[in-house]
């Protein structure tokens, strides 16, 4: 989590944030989240909501408006996304003043996606994490991308960043200075990606963080949430992100197989809705490698080296090694899919 968001957050902010959306302090239940303070509560209408508190040091009001506008645009077409809700004051984003001049907390609330996150329900995952669900995920991604193609910003101030503007893509900022090879390898990936075409059918506003913790599963239905990282990028990048995390649900030796088992049905479902040609599959190695570098940068940005376990250290050593050796994230021939 962003240090400013931790340092300045307190109970007063939490309680005020809740009250703006009709929640009393005792009704707020804290949830685990990586980048924001997140709570769950049921509003006076009986609707289960997720309250998200961020800070202007991390996201500006306008930038968050861009997220809200995009999610509402997706929801308007009936896509399965967790919809933002209005506060009692009639706002999608409430500001709560910080002690620092010009700084503020940003509070938004979203309908709680029905169902569960798979990691919270291993038994369900055991049953449902299978090709029919992968196909459904493919269809869902494709519908999101199809709809995103039609999205037009209402105001330039709300524009979300391009993929390369995301701070963790700038690995120079976060990787230790001595890790020159990590920087070089990442720069090479970015350079190759920068050369990819940015056509309307291949490039648009994407979720960008749609991994297994950002959708709920409910009796065969998927609902996507947390568009906090939405950015302009290739639609293929969205797929690469989930593929990256699917691979990481298992051990190194089984990653390629797990990803392949996922990707086939996923693409079948995706292509029921919109095409995805081999030229985009050919970008997967670089997109996956970018994701690995970004995760590595995130690790340096947020992790406290003093409290790392040996297992953590080992993980990140391997990340570095693989980045430096340009080892493929997944050893698959993507263009065959």
């Amino acid at each position: 989590m962003h240090p400013e968001l931790i340092r300045r957050f307190n109970d007063r902010v939490r309680d005020e944030a809740g009250s703006r959306f009709g929640a009393a302090p005792e009704e707020l239940t804290r949830l685990n989240a990586f980048e924001n303070h997140v709570y769950e509560f049921t509003n006076p209408d009986g609707v289960e909501l997720i309250l998200r508190i961020s800070h202007s040091a991390r996201r500006t009001h306008d930038y968050t408006q861009g997220e809200i506008e995009f999610v509402r645009f997706l929801a308007a077409a009936g896509l399965p996304v967790a919809k933002p809700v209005l506060s009692d004051g009639g706002l999608f984003i409430e500001r709560i003043g910080d002690d620092q001049p010009g700084q503020y907390f940003l509070v938004s609330a979203f309908e709680r996606a029905p169902g569960v996150v798979f990691d919270d329900a291993p038994a369900l995952k055991e049953i449902y994490w299978a090709p029919p669900l992968f196909r459904e995920l493919g269809r869902t991604f494709a519908r999101l991308h199809q709809r995103a193609q039609a999205y037009r910003l209402s105001k330039m101030e709300f524009k979300r960043q391009e993929w390369h503007e995301y701070d963790v893509v700038d690995i120079d900022r976060f990787a230790p200075p001595e890790e020159t090879l990590v920087r070089e390898r990442t720069a090479e990936i970015i350079e190759r990606l920068q050369r990819l075409p940015r056509t309307p059918d291949g490039y648009g506003l994407i979720h960008a963080d749609l991994h297994l913790h950002n959708f709920c599963f409910d009796d065969g239905r998927i609902t996507v949430f947390d568009f906090d990282n939405a950015e302009y990028a290739w639609f293929a990048k969205d797929i690469a992100v989930i593929l990256f995390y699917v691979g990481r649900t298992t051990t190194t030796d089984k990653r390629a197989a797990a990803a392949a088992a996922f990707l086939g049905p996923f693409l079948d479902g995706y292509r029921e809705v919109r095409p995805l040609g081999p030229e985009w599959l050919a970008t997967f190695p670089d997109l996956l490698a970018l994701q690995r570098s970004m995760n590595y940068a995130l690790f340096h940005q947020y992790r406290d080296r003093q409290v790392l376990t040996e297992e953590d250290r080992d993980t990140w050593r391997r990340f570095r090694r693989d980045i430096e050796a340009a080892t493929p994230v997944l050893d698959l021939d993507f263009e065959k899919f």
């Binding site: 509402r72 009692d88 004051g89 009639g90 209402s154």
Partner: protein, 591 residues
């Protein structure tokens, strides 16, 4: 009030009610800050006080002397600050802070019903399904039985759909349905927490309606865009900039389409079966109509139909003129949704989806629905202008009696009844009476002429301009004056004792008024006839003066009744003739 001390702690308990506008100083030289607080407006026109004004918008609670530091330059003088703060306290904008009161403030609740419904009130509306009920309803509401085929003469076309119940079981007009038809359905009402003029108003928001609206929001934006496109296809915009008059036409026509499905001749919708999307579209755009109704009339001496407007102009106008606030509630729409809606309706923004069924499908016959709105609006414009002209004649005659009458009379007694809100609840009072009437004629004239462009080129008998309502041949006038003078010699012999100047003025007004009435009845008859054709509805009986007198929002005395009672005669006017009778004597005036 004790003198304010520097250590006093003050607060602005309803700070979120503030809205601001930076406007050019009308006397030239820089900007001035206008702060709106409900109906109050504070103007900071001294440049060095602008920072004080801006800071006032931001603070909830402060020590009085701290306000001397609200200047970016040298601190303000305490005496000056005290004067400002005491003035704000006198206006009840700033208050002494009372911690115990702030902590103990209870959450405000509102009853589920307003207690306005008539006992045993059943759902009742204007509907082709129950056409026989229309005369009974209008008799109860307006004191005159008017059949469905002439409904739009007595009821503004935009209000026809008002009492109807949609498939959600809600009345289209919600709180604003008139008492005799209001159902007072259980409704969740909440204190308004939206920043701006509505903030913590004593009237609540209709939370039930808000929930229904937000649930269908994309659908509503789509229906709105579809209507906007269809309307401007029918009646292309005059230029690149949108004009207030055009927006008013757009709004009234849109509102009318909801009435259209209820009162058309073929397959009218039953009460309770009205499409919820159409009903919600009505509720949204009615706010725009409320705005444009006032906006086009707000500048004395000229109508403002030609004023350029945008979504922002409309929103700001509503905010600064208290138009979000009404007797039974404040507008429930959050600013963010209002802006989104106005962006689609007025600024040409695309809706997020294209909803099915389309607007055209829901209306059945979109061109006919547009015709209904345009003809209905022309009828209302004519009837309102007629009322204003009638009011002008009334004032002319009242002045004549005041100046010349040599003896009291029943007619003068009737003419002296004030024209005010007490007697005419729908009278607009933002200008002096005669300007109000002039404004009505100007606005009605603009709307009449502009709406004509949306109707077929061939429309025999259609009124070309509002001035034509007063038109007649000089010879006809002279003949009518002479015959009326003869008739009144015996019918009202007491007039003979009044000065010649008064008698001449009375005759002139009588002649002019009856010309006006007949012209109005002919003009309205033409529009109503085609309206019925387009609705494939049976034609109604011929219109007469009492139909004009029954107009739901009449804001001037019914002169034909004044003359009848004041002169002791009966007066009957239809499109063809005016007949005055007393016993077996009569006079008939034709054109």
């Amino acid at each position: 009030m004790a003198e304010l001390q520097p250590t006093d702690v003050l607060c602005i308990p309803k700070r979120r009610r503030f809205t601001r506008a930076l406007l050019a100083n009308p006397e030239g030289g820089g900007e001035e800050l206008h702060i709106f607080f409900g109906e109050k407006e504070i103007v900071f026109d001294e440049p060095d006080l602008l920072p004080f004004g801006h800071k006032l918008l931001e603070v909830d609670r402060f020590r009085a002397q701290d306000a001397t530091a609200w200047s970016p330059a040298a601190p303000y003088d305490w005496e000056r600050v005290r004067g400002l703060l005491e003035a704000l306290m006198a206006e009840e904008i700033v208050e002494p802070y009372d911690a115990s009161a702030a902590a103990a403030a209870p959450r405000q609740t509102f009853p589920a019903t307003l207690g306005r419904a008539q006992p045993g009130q059943k759902p009742e509306t204007y509907s082709g399904r129950e056409a026989q009920g229309c005369p009974m309803t209008t008799q109860r509401m307006l004191g005159r039985a008017v059949e469905l085929s002439n409904l739009e003469v007595v009821l503004p076309v935009q209000r026809v759909g008002h009492p109807a119940v949609d498939t959600d079981g809600r009345q289209v007009g919600e709180n604003n349905v008139v008492d005799p038809l209001f159902l007072d359905l259980p409704t969740e009402r909440r204190l308004c927490a939206y920043a701006g003029s509505r903030y913590h108003n004593q009237a609540p928001i209709n939370y039930t309606a808000l929930k229904a609206m937000t649930k269908r929001w994309p659908e509503l934006l789509s229906l709105t865009a579809q209507f906007r496109d269809a309307f401007f296809q029918r009646l292309p915009r005059l230029g690149a900039d949108l004009l207030a008059g055009e927006v008013h036409l757009l709004a009234v026509t849109c509102l009318s389409t909801v009435g259209y499905v209820m009162v058309r001749g073929i397959d009218p919708v039953a009460n309770g079966q009205l499409d919820v999307g159409l009903a919600a579209m009505f509720r949204l755009i009615d706010g725009v109509r409320i705005c444009t109704t006032q906006l086009v009339r707000d500048t004395a001496g000229q109508q403002s139909c030609d004023r350029v407007v945008t979504g922002k102009v409309i929103h700001d106008y509503a905010e600064q003129n208290q138009l979000f606030i009404d007797t039974w509630g404040v507008c429930a729409g959050p600013a963010v949704l209002i802006d989104e809606y106005l962006g689609v309706l007025l600024d040409g923004n695309a809706p997020p989806i294209d909803v099915e069924p389309s607007l055209a499908t829901r209306l059945g016959d979109l061109p006919a629905a547009l015709d209904y709105g345009l003809h209905g609006l022309r009828i209302e414009s004519i009837v309102r202008a007629y009322g204003a002209m009638q009011g002008q004649l009334h004032e002319r005659l009242r002045a004549a009696f005041a100046a010349h009458a040599s003896a009291p009379s029943k007619l003068q007694e009737l003419l002296e009844i004030p024209i005010d809100r007490e007697h005419y609840p729908f009278l607009r009072v933002d200008h002096p009476l005669l300007e109000t009437y002039l404004m009505e004629i100007r606005v009605g004239g603009w709307l009449l002429e502009r709406s004509r462009a949306g109707l077929p080129a061939e429309l025999p008998g259609a009124l070309a301009s509002m001035e034509d309502l007063l038109r007649s041949e000089p010879e006809t006038r002279a003949g009518h004056a002479s015959r009326l003078a003869d008739f009144l010699t015996t019918a009202a012999p007491e007039l003979a004792g009044q000065p010649q100047a008064l008698r001449a003025e009375l005759l002139a007004v009588l002649v002019q008024f009856f010309v006006l009435q007949r012209n109005c009845l002919r003009a309205v008859g033409v529009e109503q006839h085609r309206l019925n054709q387009r609705l494939r509805r049976a034609q109604g009986r011929a219109l007469c003066d009492e139909d004009l007198n029954a107009y739901a929002r009449r804001a001037s005395p019914a002169l034909s009744r004044v003359f009848a009672e004041g002169l002791g005669v009966t007066v009957d006017t239809d499109a063809g003739a005016t007949v005055l009778r007393q016993g077996d004597r009569s006079v008939s005036l034709t054109d």
